[in-house]
Amino acid sequence: MTDVLRLENVSIEYTNRKGTMRIVDDVSFHIAPGEALGLVGESGCGKSTLALAAMRYLPRGMRVSKGRILFDGADLATLDDAALRRIRGNRVAMVYQDPMSSLNPVITIGRQLVEVPLLHGETDARKAHERAVRMLHEVRLPDPERMMTRYPHELSGGQQQRVVIAMALMAEPALLIMDEPTTGLDVTIEAAILDLVRELRRRFGTAILFISHNLGTVARICDKIGVLYAGRLVETGPIRSVFGTPAHPYTNGLLAALPRIEAGRTAAPLRPIAGTLQAADRARTGCAFAPRCSFAVPALCEAAPVPLVPADGAGQLARCARLDVVAAAVRGERHAAHGARLAGDEADAPVLLSVRDLSKRYPVGGGLSGGVKGEVRALTDVTLEARARRTLAIVGESGSGKSTLAKVLSGLTEASAGEARLGDFDLGATGIDKRPQDLKRRIQMVFQNPDSTLNPSHTVEHAVMRPLRLLRGLSRSAAKAEAARLLEKVRLPAEMLRRMPHQLSGGQRQRVALARAFAGDPQLVLADEPVSALDVSVQAAIVNLLADLQAASGIALVLISHDLALVRHMADTVAVMYLGRIVEYGPADAVFAPPWHPYTAALLAAVPRPDPDAPEPSIILAGSMPSPLEEMKGCPFASRCPRRIDGLCDTTPPPVRTPAAGHDIACHLDLDTLPATL
């Protein structure tokens, strides 16, 4: 049987005014009908370029300089426009990361779906309509007939992505290319989409080229995997072989850098991959990963091109000159004991921040008429504590109110009710402009986006020196010296002080942001998704650094994250938020072990694990979070809860169950029935 897609030694080059760069170098793989291949790698590794090349849809300036791309056995390069058009849309379909950019905002879902069969040979409009409705039903969208008449903006992100998938499947393609299809989505929505893709694949027998930076999602979907680094395939093979006995040092590094949800708080620190991908690495004759590899021997690795050679696992190939050494070393490490990172007792961790019944409401204006339409209840009766030397993690989907909480604590907005006590101050009532300088010093923040955390117009020195001058009152010369020391603390060379932010990588910028946050010697640091915008290998280094800084300075860390594996790795205390309320709160060990709140259970089940043998998620949450404009009479989670008790959960606020001291679960289910949720 012919492969649906076959790449033979494909190289892709990009030419601009500055010269020619090889984006993809000598990549070969094939996908048989019904097979799913995952391509993983960090940003800039060439994975999206390959996806575009597979449809002969490379942007201007890029071209396939070597090798062949065969679709159904036909060389794409030799096809004329008509033949190409028949393939695109009919035989291959693509699903991109951002569903909003794939859907036309001014045309109804129905018309966009019906267009597909009508463009590809269907003549009967009624039949096309029926097929569209059937497909919306297949992707499990509620009330497909009504969905047909709606516009994309009326749908949630998860629903939009389902529509895009439905559209892709309308033509019953032989190959579905998915480029980071779940990256912008919440973990529960992601689990539902991945579950859908698996099922559709079984039903329609569609081959899938699945591109992702997330090893967990690939493990859930694919049979085969290709690991890309600097445009080269460094390892490929059946998914069980590659995850079971990763051969290439880069694959090993990626897996070791990931926090694991099944490991506890006491697990060893993450193992980051040193260095970053450099543009010059692409031009290397030998192994592009050599500069970052601890096994590299210049004579072996950098002198000549390294071929793909068979590795331990069945069907597994790796592009490494030192496979035997790497394999032995990795086996040794696996047996090494985990370094214990013990959380001390409560005595050395005094309560620093105490939040009681904190609420935040925003009036939603009726526009020019001035009438108030309603209120967004961003936070409702939030109660929690943060201790010195400890990490409090706040988890939840987007819209759960976790960022609003950070904004209230940081003073960027004021609370409507309740209090957040830090020493003598009520943070909730004291907006940033009312805070004395000493209070500002005590609370600092690390932001999510490395692109906007530093002012593009100023040097690193400015970012680090200003807080030293303002918060610690240092003189210019003292601040200068201290800035260099601070940079050293975040493991950046002092000459970085003169750099502009655009000359820094994302990880470096986030280090500078950490230096800035710790400059004033704070007591409380709010970290809002500090690593979620970074590549896996860089994430681990920042996480370790944050843990080290915390250990050295004794700060209370409030970590806001949607990444439960990261939270499991870092947190001492966890607050699970849903729709502005805390539904479960307690020590991390207790929150991550049963009994669970049904929402916590769903979140845990949804986390994609980098393990092909991980059980399929047992709970798939349907629907999406209700609007925070609605008045909630009962439990906020009632509308999506798989264990809802009708007539009770949606009308009466849930009582707080306390399975152990300090562990609270707000649920109508009693402690005897709660554990059964996973």
């Binding site: 500002k440 932001f447 906007s452 002012n455 593009p456 117009s457 942001a513």
Partner: protein, 301 residues
């Protein structure tokens, strides 16, 4: 745009998509990149440098004092060996007057635009950062000024207060400021929500520091492009004022005034009108070319 609402139909003179990327470049680098990468900017820069040299070197290079009349030339005012560009209707040397006239426009226009930039930048920063009632007042007053036909505004004010270099600068600075305020306001609205501004507030920076040090530098890209564009428009405006007789008082040479004095004779002595007209046009084209090139360079970066 903000919830305070922007009057429909307002046209933002700068492509906001470029704003973010323009912002990361330093002023010097933007100029250098523009001049070296974009041929059109190089050409524009060359024209401007030419006129600047003419203006600066006028006392040295000009063959005659600008107001000196040559009765001999009245017979034949056309270009000749003694008067390379000919003379005007009063026998004054055209070349000298053009060179001295360049001084007027090259001093008045940049000072006026700089004044507009300073006023507009401060208002724009304040308006965008504070929002609310401040924003509404500043922007609506600006709208009223912009809604007024500019020439009529010039006429009224200069007729009332008299035509002097200072008044011309003042009038242009005030009438051009609202446009610049809009550009700066748009950038401010975008930048004030960035994390680095939050970080600055959290370490207790003053509002003035946040406006001038954290926000303003990120507007310099669009501002500098607009500065040269605005210089071009202002050159035309100064020419028009001269032509309407409310430019600099005679006998000092002024390109617009030169056109006005001679346009009745255009079919007899075309050079008297066409040479100053060409001077105005070339300078305007120079400014526009430079602005276009800089925008290209900024987008390219």
């Amino acid at each position: 745009m903000s919830e305070t609402g922007h009057t429909a139909g307002q046209v933002a003179p700068v492509d906001t998509g470029a704003v973010g990327r323009v912002a990361t470049t330093s002023v010097g680098r933007l100029l250098w990149n523009g001049l070296t990468i974009s041929p059109i900017a190089t050409l524009g820069g060359g024209i401007i440098v030419f006129w600047a040299l003419m203006a600066v070197l006028a006392p040295v290079l000009a063959p005659y004092p600008p107001n000196q009349m040559d009765p001999m030339a009245l017979v034949d005012p056309f270009p000749s060996a003694t008067h390379w560009l000919g003379t005007d209707q009063l026998g004054r040397d055209m070349l000298s007057r053009i060179m001295w006239g360049a001084r007027t426009v090259l001093i008045v226009a940049p000072v006026a635009v700089l004044g507009a930039a300073i006023i507009g930048t401060l208002l724009g920063l304040l308006s965008g950062y504070r929002g609310g009632i401040v924003d509404t007042i500043v922007m609506r007053v600006g709208d009223v000024l912009l809604a007024f036909p500019q020439i009529i505004l010039y006429l009224i004010i200069l007729a009332k207060f008299g035509a002097s270099a200072f008044n011309i600068i003042l009038v242009i600075a005030v009438t051009k400021a609202p446009i610049i305020a809009r550009i700066v306001r748009a950038v401010t609205l975008d930048v004030k929500n960035r994390d680095y501004v939050a970080a600055a507030r959290m370490r207790g920076e003053s509002t003035l520091h946040i406006l001038l040090v954290e926000i303003l530098p990120n507007a310099r890209g669009p501002l500098i492009v607009d500065f040269f564009l605005r210089l071009g428009y202002t050159t035309i405006a100064i020419g028009v004022l001269g032509f309407l007789g409310i430019g600099l008082p005679p006998p000092d040479p002024d390109w617009g005034g030169m056109i006005k004095e001679s346009y009745g004779l255009i079919f007899v002595y075309p050079h008297m009108t066409l040479i100053p007209a060409a001077a105005v046009s070339s300078l305007v084209v120079g400014f526009n070319f430079l602005a276009t090139g800089l925008r290209e360079a900024a987008l390219d970066d």
